[in-house]
């Protein structure tokens, strides 16, 4: 039986007139069985880019990876394979099959592998069609409550306007989760990040096509370990209060603020997707009307709900004090993740400025990133930054843009920008 718990880290003391309360809420799920134990079924769809650019070793590697994935989808799991170019096509079950998705069993696995082996590459890239087809396929198995997809591409979404992708992402949000993978250096990080962020998945760069198979294997292992199909983060604020933001801050930074749906007028729900036995940190910031010194009130209840049941609850408090030694202290957890969230945004802004030719801005932003990565102990970010900038002074964030930094290094930095280091407790 899965259990959740929520721990709150904050400094509840506010100075006279203070209104903004920040807290880090660590949500931990334990005793989570595998996805198969979640009740309801599990459905997996693998989407492989078969546009013309994939021709050659890239397609061969992708086909191999899809076949490896088939080996790691356990019997009984609903599954389908989709090939995508400027149009999407169901590869398996075959397009003329009476059903759009089948349960895995040895014969189906063998036949699916055969179908994958016959894939060829041609045409453009319109990922919205891939996502729509996946959504239609998932819709045929309402019993499968845990729906997960993998999208693999090597290129830019060039066959359709960006807003078409955006509107499709919006349409399928909440219907399934999707991890997005870019292979090589010609795909657009921001496009895949948009997909993965909305669909509660991850985005990763796979520099070497030979690594696709391993990545698929680990994606499936992660997906299949998620024994809680869907959990919702709920934030209650008092009448007259407001949520400033709700952010997942570990293991990655994901801004959930705009994902709010009203549970009650005072309670907003934010999607968190499926859970394995794991721990995630959320940064919740709320604004409440200031009260008289000495008074205390609840600024937020942060809860985890599975279905309609609240399974964990943490209290974020506000207490007004004239004792500066209490009010001046910043919670180390809040400070750490505030820095990590800024790190993610300055990396992305710095790389965007560099791509636009604004080297001055890029230097300042990436310099700040170096400083933040050092301050918050994010060694992965530091090592990836080193491949893009020459660091003159880490403490002060003095850097020079590296001439001849490879596009792959920049993409690796970009995709990893949202990964955070946990706060040292």
């Amino acid at each position: 039986m899965a259990t959740f718990r929520a721990e709150v880290f904050q400094n509840e003391f506010l100075p006279d007139g203070g209104t903004d309360v920040h807290a880090i809420v660590t949500v931990t799920a334990e005793g989570v069985g595998g996805a198969a134990t979640a009740g309801g079924g599990v459905a997996e769809i693998v989407m492989i880019d078969t546009s013309g650019s994939m021709t050659g070793p890239m397609l061969a590697a992708a086909k191999h990876a899809a076949q490896v994935a088939l080996d790691h989808i356990p019997d009984g799991t609903w599954f389908a394979i989709v090939s995508g170019s400027h149009v999407a096509q169901r590869v398996f079950p075959y397009p003329n099959a009476p059903v759009a998705i089948v349960q895995m069993e040895p014969a189906a696995r063998a036949e699916a592998k055969r179908a994958v082996s016959r894939l060829g590459a041609q045409g453009g890239t319109a990922m919205s069609t891939w996502l729509r087809l996946a959504d239609q396929i998932f819709a045929t198995v309402p019993a499968a409550t845990q729906r997960h997809a993998i999208l693999l591409t090597d290129g830019k979404n060039e066959s359709e306007p960006r807003d078409q992708l955006t509107s499709t992402i919006r349409a399928v949000t909440g219907r399934f989760q999707c991890d997005a993978r870019g292979v090589g250096e010609r795909w657009q990080v921001d496009e895949l990040r948009e997909i993965a962020t909305a669909l509660l998945g991850s985005v990763e760069l796979i520099a070497d096509p030979a690594d696709i198979a391993d990545d698929f294997r680990s994606l499936l292992a992660t997906s299949l370990s998620r024994g809680v199909a869907d959990a919702q983060l709920r934030v209650w604020t008092p009448q007259g209060g407001q949520v400033l933001f709700v952010r997942q801050v570990a293991p990655t930074v994901e801004d959930l603020t705009a994902r709010r749906t009203a549970v009650t007028p005072l309670i907003g729900g934010y999607p968190t997707g499926a859970w394995a036995a794991e721990s995630r940190d959320y940064h919740v910031a709320v604004r409440v009307p200031s009260k008289t010194l000495g008074s205390e009130q609840l600024a937020a209840r942060v809860q985890v709900a599975v279905g309609d049941e609240v399974v964990a609850s943490g209290l974020v408090k506000a207490a007004w004090s004239d004792d500066a030694s209490l009010t001046a202290r910043i919670s180390p957890e809040v400070a750490h993740y505030t820095g990590q969230a800024e790190l993610a945004s300055v990396i992305q802004e710095g790389l965007a400025a560099k791509a636009a030719g604004d080297e001055a801005t890029a230097t300042v932003k990436l310099g700040r990133a170096v400083q933040l990565a050092a301050e918050t102990g994010n060694e992965e970010a530091t090592s990836k930054l080193r491949r893009v900038v020459e660091i003159d002074d880490e403490e002060h964030g003095t850097v020079r843009l590296k001439r001849g930094a490879s596009r792959l290094d920049e993409m690796a930095l970009d995709t990893a920008s949202t990964k955070t280091s946990r706060v040292r407790r």
Partner: protein, 491 residues
């Protein structure tokens, strides 16, 4: 919460105390009241509005009471719980609005509908059992008039729900905070009242600035003798709220049990009893947490106790809680002499005002608890020659009125305004201290001393050596003047 089932005055209340899960200590001897809104410093009786069981079809309060938002000043709709203009809770801002706001929202655009209306039982001074003066058991406490009778109103539909939020009338969740406005439901300990007999009462209140009430109060009556005990927990030591209540209760119990066994005229015997009570209180403070000796800052507290007979008044103390004798005629006296840095400064010649303003003024030099040194209470006896009031209080009161004549003026003013019921007077003094700033917890206990009339001749013949000179004049003994009495060994 034993008192709920053992207190005969409580039988008409729900068996499940609505806020019993909000923590606080067991407080077996006291009854809580929650009807005062802490932010406003209002006495409980001021918060009571008109009958609030009104159905939704009835309008709000009287026409002339147009409530305005205390935050932005905009008029708020009749029955609106929150300001339309700024969203502030209406009830938290104005007393006049409080009565209107607790009626179910009539305005269709009120931001919150009335799911909570059915459990809004208004504090009703008229329906609360008022058996105070008849409680014969000195340990039994009474329900104070004006204390709320949760869920006893005619519209109450459920007796199992916790009391409505004191700030907005919303539903209080199991976590102890309101589901509407987030206000913390008052802890039982935040405001306690006792009135074991008609002539004696006390109020202990969290004050305005503190988050926890670490003061404790224990009152008792044994025959013609009245016992007042006030303890002030040391706020820098965790769990001192537990220690202070344990100490106060222990001291009171020793005094109540002991006074009937000794000569009511024997000041020396009463002094010894007070010293004994302080030792018991120290042991109780020590035992109030399992690991007191292992702690760096073990829970600790002050003690101020008074034993009040018809013609003898003896006070005992450690720390800076005080006992005053405030006769109807004649000069007021502070009987106790603080064990504090301020008192030492005054002893060295500094003025009271300057000493009490000094940075370490509130540092106490003697206390009860695991890390206390000498816990032998200092005592002082007086033989009042006429009627008057005995006041025991924590520094939450005397911070704002220290000198005896100032305290006497304060009480006289209160007597003129609210009459001579000691509970009403205690509430009034607490409200006054809150209005003055309420920086600390405030505890006030008052006992009326009325010598038998006609006043008996001074019992000079059988007086101990140390109570020689008992005359109608109040006599102040220097500290340690009773040291000639054999002090019982510490238990």
């Amino acid at each position: 919460m034993d008192s709920v089932v053992t207190d005969p005055t409580q039988t008409n209340l729900p068996s499940d105390p609505p806020n019993s899960y909000f923590g606080g200590d067991s407080g077996a001897e006291t009854r809580r009241t929650t009807s005062s809104a802490p932010e406003e410093g209002a006495g409980p009786e001021e918060g009571a509005g008109p009958e609030e069981g009104a159905g939704p079809e009835e309008g709000a309060g009287p026409e002339e009471e147009v409530p305005v938002c205390g935050v932005c000043g905009e008029p708020t709709g009749d029955g609106a719980r929150f300001c339309e203009a700024c969203g502030a809770p209406v009830t938290a801002t104005t007393g006049a609005a409080a009565s209107a706001a607790t009626t179910p929202a009539a305005a269709s655009d009120a931001p919150v509908s009335s799911p909570t209306a059915s459990v809004e039982a208004a504090p009703d001074p008229g329906t609360a059992p008022a058996a105070s003066s008849t409680a014969p058991d000195p340990a039994a406490s009474s329900v104070a008039p004006g204390s709320p009778a949760p869920a006893a109103g005619p519209t109450a539909t459920s007796t199992s729900l916790p009391a409505p939020c004191h700030a907005c009338g919303g539903v209080v969740a199991a976590d102890g905070y309101c589901t509407q406005c987030g206000a913390r439901a008052p802890a039982e300990r935040d405001h306690r009242e006792e009135q074991p007999a008609a002539h004696v009462a006390g109020v202990s209140d969290v004050g305005v600035r503190r988050r926890r009430n670490e003061d404790a109060l224990a009152l008792g009556v044994a025959g013609d003798v009245t016992v007042l005990v006030v303890c002030d927990g040391v706020s820098s030591a965790p769990d001192s709220d537990i220690a202070s209540q344990a100490a106060a209760t222990a001291a009171r119990d020793v005094l109540v049990a002991g006074v009937t066994d000794v000569d009511a005229r024997d000041a020396g015997a009463w002094s010894r009893l007070l010293v004994d009570a302080a030792h018991h209180a120290d042991a109780a403070a020590h035992a109030s947490v399992d690991d007191a000796t292992a702690r760096q800052d073990p829970p600790s507290c002050t003690l101020a106790a008074a034993v009040v007979g018809e013609s003898l008044l003896v006070a005992g103390w450690l720390g800076d809680s005080r006992v005053y004798w405030l006769p109807d005629d004649g000069p007021a006296e502070q009987l106790t002499e603080d064990d504090s840095i301020a008192a030492e400064l005054m002893a060295g010649g500094m003025s009271r005002a300057a000493a009490e303003r000094s940075p370490d003024a509130h540092a106490i030099t003697r206390w009860l608890g695991a890390d206390a040194g000498d816990t032998t209470a200092r005592t002082v006896a007086t033989r009042p020659g006429g009627p008057g009031w005995v006041l025991a209080c924590s520094d939450g009161l005397w911070n704002y009125a220290s000198a005896p004549d100032v305290v006497a003026d304060l009480l006289r003013d209160a007597l003129r305004r609210v009459g001579n019921d000691p509970l009403t007077l205690s509430r009034d003094l607490v409200a006054w201290a809150r209005a003055a700033g309420g920086h600390d917890n405030v505890t006030v206990a008052l006992a009326r001393l009325t010598p038998p009339s006609p006043a008996p001749p001074a019992p000079a013949a059988d007086a101990h050596a140390d109570d020689a000179g008992t005359t109608p004049t109040v006599r102040r003994r220097p500290p340690g003047s009773l040291a000639g009495e054999p002090v019982p060994p510490r238990p």
